[in-house]
Symmetry: C2
């Protein structure tokens, strides 16, 4: 049994977190009522023997509280019992009503907890007073055949024995083991003198912290409930007051406490407090409540105050939480009229009018109106619609469905897989029967996955201030490059805003979906011979070159990795009557012929079809045009800006080194033909398991290998990203997969292929540059994996760049500390 | 310079194959004209110096021939020159006309080969005689400014110098290097006394062997052309006679030669011979011509005669060639009413009624009638139709088109690319205008590529005799089990006929496509709740059980590996109006609702979708029904036959061990519920790269791993078998892939995954059984790989079982000899 005298150091395993914090608060000279602690071993002994040791006289004066103090507060424990020691002869001097209220509360608490009686046996319409106490005591005697104990020591010992036994009940053990407690976890008990929140003068209880819970700013924030005890202000029936309701002196005391606790604990803390007749007492402390935005500011402020290091601030900030800094968010207090729920695929919130086609979204955008694009699922045709929309909602698909990936990349708030909704003849039908037609106003909350009716109030993002400070600190320690997957000048500019080191993946196919280009692309695909094909490619060349010129200018000499055309050609074919008719006219074919050719191009498993380098080998003119555009653009930008552009040309979907050799020879021939003096690198996008296994061969023909972990995951699992939504949730719920492997890299399977490839590749070519350019590039755990695997860079969608930068910094710090 | 005196041993690298064979023939006391050999070194020296050494007088008598003798006859070499030494003063005594003919031939050969003149300069309408010789000589003099040489030694030396130089010409080098010759390959020359096939008495030349070229039976077979020289009987303008045309004495000589050569060379040999005035002379020998059926018989006969060992016979027989033994063939003499011709894609012939859809083929098969499935081209949807059909005919596609590959695997006679035929509104239009509607009887001859009207007489395959003898010898040395991929009792019976060790893959989904079952299956898929689903499964249970009872009975205690349901459920949905209507009625739904549900089930990449164990986990009742059917069937068969059936239950498309654990627990629960005492094994079909990498985990939950190399290849390459046809031919032609990886196992990529899995699996569970059950199980090179990798069995389609048995035996012999 240890007195908390502000000097004795406690052991957290033996005395629990609450007791240790109380001891520290006492040491910090904060007003903590006198207390003693029964160690976990003591409590375990009591539970075993059923005997409570004698208690020192010094403890047994006035009213007492008894609280559990396990190692981890999350594990739970027996309910605290307050006002122990109260009896007919020891009513405290707080006025008669208040004294009877405290007495009645104790009897109820003792009866239900210690004696195990039913709570309703002690319900009554009587007001608090002598009569009600008599009724309670007789109820107790009726149920237990014993008088309600009047001796304070008897009361306390019974409470202690009850708590010791409660902790050791099998059901309690199972519950806390489910929360991660070890089998033999013990629990200390704290016996503390009561300060009474009920009584004369300014009296009450509450919780407060010295930082704002939403913004993290230094500002007293909390709740207070006059004439209340313990948790009443937090879980009581009465509405608490704001912290401004307590006297200035108490506020000052709370501020001082906040400062001392921050220094003492190295973090912003919240306190549980009681005001007794104007005097402030602190009963417990725990880390301050904070939103993710507040958490970042708190960490930065602590570091700037010299309480923690900058590296601590970097390590403490949860990378995923940065997302909340980048997007508008729905105000916490805003009313939410929830229509349905889906998967939160891309964070942030947006209000707009429902549209059901990409064309309608573009029309809305042209009129300066916000549109929410609602689709069953999306495909390549929808990309421009997603671009134009303020938010996206799909009824099917998982976290890595087309809509989710594209929206995340664009930073457009997005909900996918909202299966409760139904599309019925261009009316969106909600589970409660509400029917939304095109034009109806809704809000998608991509952070929570909720679809709301109408508009709501929002907070806007702020990339300066503490956010910027923290990102600078992260960059100081980071040694893994972070590049962006950026296909357009808009993407590239966004990536620059988010502090990127280059472009790790420019998907050139996205450059061909613009209406004026896709028509030429289609003519190229249907060209009857090489001459006609060349004519179409000659039309595409200046467009493609202009794209690259703009990208290179924006990136100012930073690396730009350009992936040669990847998708199967049928993705470019029209699916609607109008598109087919236009193409038929341009080609001098009948619509039926065009439709037939489109059908012939269709594939059973397009993911595993004629795409990537397979197109490059069988229709080499396409890659040749792209290479020429790259060389000419780099030369032009160098001539104008003086920035030496070193383009990195990446070959997709390789499965054999011969593919690389053939494309390499053709690209070298183009360079020679153009007379290009541009230094460029040629590398491989490793997306097939075979490419990973044969990385030793590939490394001999390649300057870099970049792992396209989306496709690599698909092929390693035999699992289509587009189709996985049908069962992925169930799979993760049942624990078949620990996590969605499209979300966080599957270290055991896909990860092993990455390690094999890295090792073989570097062995064959020590100068080989290794990168990752799948969606995983923005996943903190996967970024850590890349650091451990010795990669040079990760590349992710622009909105994930800050997340990756922070995760990379953390990985560097962890790696350094592991040395 | 070496005289072939029947005693001197030659060196094949230095003197070439032809010279060595001649030397051996002389040693065998066969009638070989006298000859000398200039070694490859001599010839090389002549080419370098331009000087031909002096030739012994013994050589320079009578007429001579000069022939090239490279190491490998396939490499080619300068054309033989005959009748050297002929001149105005040395005309041979064979009658005037014949002598002038020989002389004129020599002048032409000398002029075009040695002097490099144009052949047409020596064309003439004059008959052979003095006048024509004079014209030829003056043409020679006109073009070369030199008289035609009359000195035999001058002639011979010029011929030798020409041949030595011709061999060393750059174009000749490139040509033979393309055929695999080393850079410095040399060529010996043979100078041989002529025996003249033109002249008095029974005189002529031909080729003969002592075994029939089609059947391999011991019977003199060959061709003979009176009054001819050298290759005239083989490539001459006149039609040669059958070998019976030579006198009995010559036939006897040829038979004796055949016997001695077989003993001497250890193989049946063909000879090139000349009959000079009734006397037989042998000029060359080479392995006898033989069909694959003949080759097998020759090997067996040689072994039975003690000339080679049984193991030699096993090693010498090409496994692929066994295919020709297994199928019915059209009688050689049968009348053929040819409708059209295409590519002979899968051997054997079949007569049946024309059907245009896979459904119609299945209906026909269900009625016990033979169907010929006629399609423009086939896809995945047609596989069941090809299964059900007796023959297949497609209008498009090449030797590796879908139809060709599937039909070969199934042993179904097949013609592809019959482009002369046209499909016109469900009528097959022939080039001669004949129109065949569904139900018309035709015959497809997959061996010749001919489509015939009506039925024809056929010879049935003979699996006895030499075939059976050889397979028995193979089984004596084989230690790799060969199982069959068999889904139906018919497949199983066929597999038994082909000497199988068990069933390695029973694809249970094929049991659900029968019309009366697929309807129940569809109801199960669309069941609104678990109760309705169970009702459908209760209907399927007895059907499934009956399937297994029959299979187990046929297999009589041999292992039967049953793969639980694998394909995505949408494959069972109706695609036609009638099917939808029937299903709608059964389900009390509208056709539109059924169509919508079918559409909802459709997948973007079905190969990578919700199939295999993913169905087993999310709709566990299906696998539970299947497990119950297996246990009940095994118990029933044991009760009736006393054969202890040990079913092997295989889980498809696993990617994580947790999947196996979950299914295993459910199957164990079913076994307990049924009260089954059946010993069974549970294992995994390894089809995803991840399953291969995690084989160590899987082996702890599994009794066996069976590699589904079709899917594993698809996923390792990121390449759909259904879509690869678009570029695979081009890829193999360009050498991007050395071979179609769906044909022969990709040892470097897929093979490494197999080795990794085998090593990890066995390390975790030394008793683990390893097998391969993809189509590669029937590919000899892949079977060898499995043997080297330490597998226990391969499993392939029944028609490939003999091939796999032979390949496995060869692999065992090769492994033993490598020790």
């Amino acid at each position: 049994m240890i007195f908390l005298d502000g000097k004795t150091e406690l052991n957290v395993r033996m005395h629990g977190t609450r007791a240790c914090r109380l001891a520290k608060m006492a040491a910090l000279k904060l007003p903590v009522p006198q207390a003693v602690v029964l160690s976990a071993d003591d409590v375990s002994q009591i539970a075993k023997t059923g005997k409570v040791p004698a208690l020192p006289k010094a403890v047994l004066t006035g009213l007492l509280s008894l609280r559990a103090s396990p190692l981890n507060p999350e594990w739970g424990g027996p309910t605290a019992i307050l006002n122990i020691g109260i009896s007919d002869s020891t009513l405290p001097d707080v006025g008669e009503d208040a004294a009877y209220l405290l007495y009645r509360r104790f009897i109820q608490s003792y009866a239900t907890n210690v004696a195990g009686l039913e709570a309703e046996d002690f319900d009554s319409d009587l007001p608090d007073g002598a009569a009600r106490i008599a009724r309670c005591k007789s109820s107790f005697e009726l149920e237990t055949d014993e008088a309600f104990p009047q001796d304070p020591e008897t009361q306390l010992k019974a409470c202690i024995l009850h708590m010791a036994r409660a902790w050791n009940r099998p059901s309690a053990k199972i519950l806390r083991q489910a929360k991660g407690a070890p089998k033999d976890a013990g629990c200390a008990l704290i016996i503390q003198h009561m300060v009474l929140g009920i009584g004369r003068g300014v009296t009450g209880a509450g919780a407060a912290q010295a930082v704002d819970d939403k913004t993290g700013e230094a500002r007293l924030w909390g709740r207070y409930l006059p004439q209340s005890q313990g948790q009443d202000a937090i879980i009581g029936a009465r509405e608490p007051l704001s912290i401004e309701a307590v006297p200035a002196k108490v506020q000052a005391g709370l501020r001082t406490a906040g400062e001392r606790l921050a220094k003492g604990f190295g973090d912003a803390f919240q306190v549980e407090f009681t005001v007794q007749n104007g005097a402030l007492w602190l009963l417990d402390a725990s880390p301050a409540k904070r939103s993710s935005v507040a958490a970042l500011r708190i960490n930065v402020d602590l570091a700037e105050a010299g309480i923690i290091t900058k590296n601590d601030a970097v390590l403490r900030t949860e990378p995923h939480a940065l997302g909340d800094h980048l997007h508008p968010q729905i105000d916490e207090g805003a009313a939410r009229d929830i229509l349905a729920k889906g998967l939160s695929a891309s964070p942030g919130a947006a209000t707009g009018r429902v549209v059901f086609t990409p064309e309608a979204a573009m029309t809305m955008a042209a009129q300066g109106q916000a549109a929410i694009l609602v689709r069953v699922e999306t495909g390549a045709d929808d990309i421009r619609g997603i671009h134009a929309a303020s938010g996206v909602l799909t009824l099917r698909g998982g976290m890595t469905s087309h809509a989710a990936v594209i929206a995340r990349g664009l930073g457009v708030p997005c909900i996918v897989g909202a299966g409760e909704l139904r599309l019925d003849d261009s009316v969106l039908v909600c589970p409660d029967g509400r029917r939304l037609e095109a034009g109806a106003q809704i809000t998608v909350d991509g952070t929570s996955g909720q679809v709301l009716a109408g508009a709501t109030t929002m907070t806007q993002p702020n990339l300066g201030g503490p956010f910027k400070t923290l990102m600078n600190w992260a960059d100081e320690v980071r040694d893994l490059q972070v590049r962006a997957n950026a296909d357009t000048p808009a993407d590239a500019r966004l990536a620059q805003r988010f502090g990127v080191d280059g472009i790790g993946l420019c998907r050139t196919e996205h450059m061909f979906f613009a209406p004026e280009r896709v028509q030429v692309m289609r003519e190229m695909i249907l060209a009857p011979d090489a001459v006609a094909r060349k004519a179409s490619l000659d039309q595409l060349l200046p467009m493609q070159k202009a794209d690259f010129v703009e990208l290179f200018e924006i990136m100012r000499g930073q690396p730009v990795t350009i992936r040669l055309l990847d998708p199967p050609l049928h993705e470019f074919m029209p699916v609607d009557e109008a598109g087919m008719a236009a193409l038929a006219q341009a080609m001098g074919m009948s619509v039926v012929q065009v439709a037939r050719r489109a059908e012939e191009l269709a594939e059973v498993n397009p993911m595993l079809g004629k795409r990537g380098v397979r197109i490059g080998i069988t229709t080499p003119e396409i890659y040749e045009m792209q290479a020429r555009a790259i060389f000419e653009a780099a030369a032009q930008v160098f001539a104008i800006t003086g920035d030496a552009v070193v383009p990195e040309i990446m070959i997709p979907l390789v499965s054999a080194n011969r593919e690389v050799e053939l494309i390499k020879a053709r690209i070298e021939a183009v360079a020679a033909e153009v007379g290009s003096t541009v230094a460029y690198k040629l590398g491989v996008m490793v997306e097939t398991p075979r490419a990973a296994l044969r990385a030793g061969d590939l490394a001999e023909s390649s300057a870099f290998l970049s792992f396209g972990t989306n496709d690599l995951t698909q092929m390693t699992y035999g699992l289509s990203r587009d189709d996985a939504g049908r069962f992925m949730r169930e799979y993760v719920q049942q624990g078949v997969f620990p996590d969605d492997p499209f979300h966080s890299l599957d270290v055991e399977g896909v990860g092993e292929l990455l390690l094999i490839a890295a090792q073989r590749g570097r062995a064959a070519n020590p100068a080989l540059v290794l990168g990752m350019c799948g969606e995983h590039g923005g996943d903190p755990a996967s970024v850590r994996f890349c650091k451990v695997a010795g990669f040079d860079y990760v590349s992710c969608s622009p909105y994930r760049v800050p997340i990756a930068r922070l995760a990379a910094a953390q990985a560097s710090l962890l790696a350094a500390s592991a040395k």
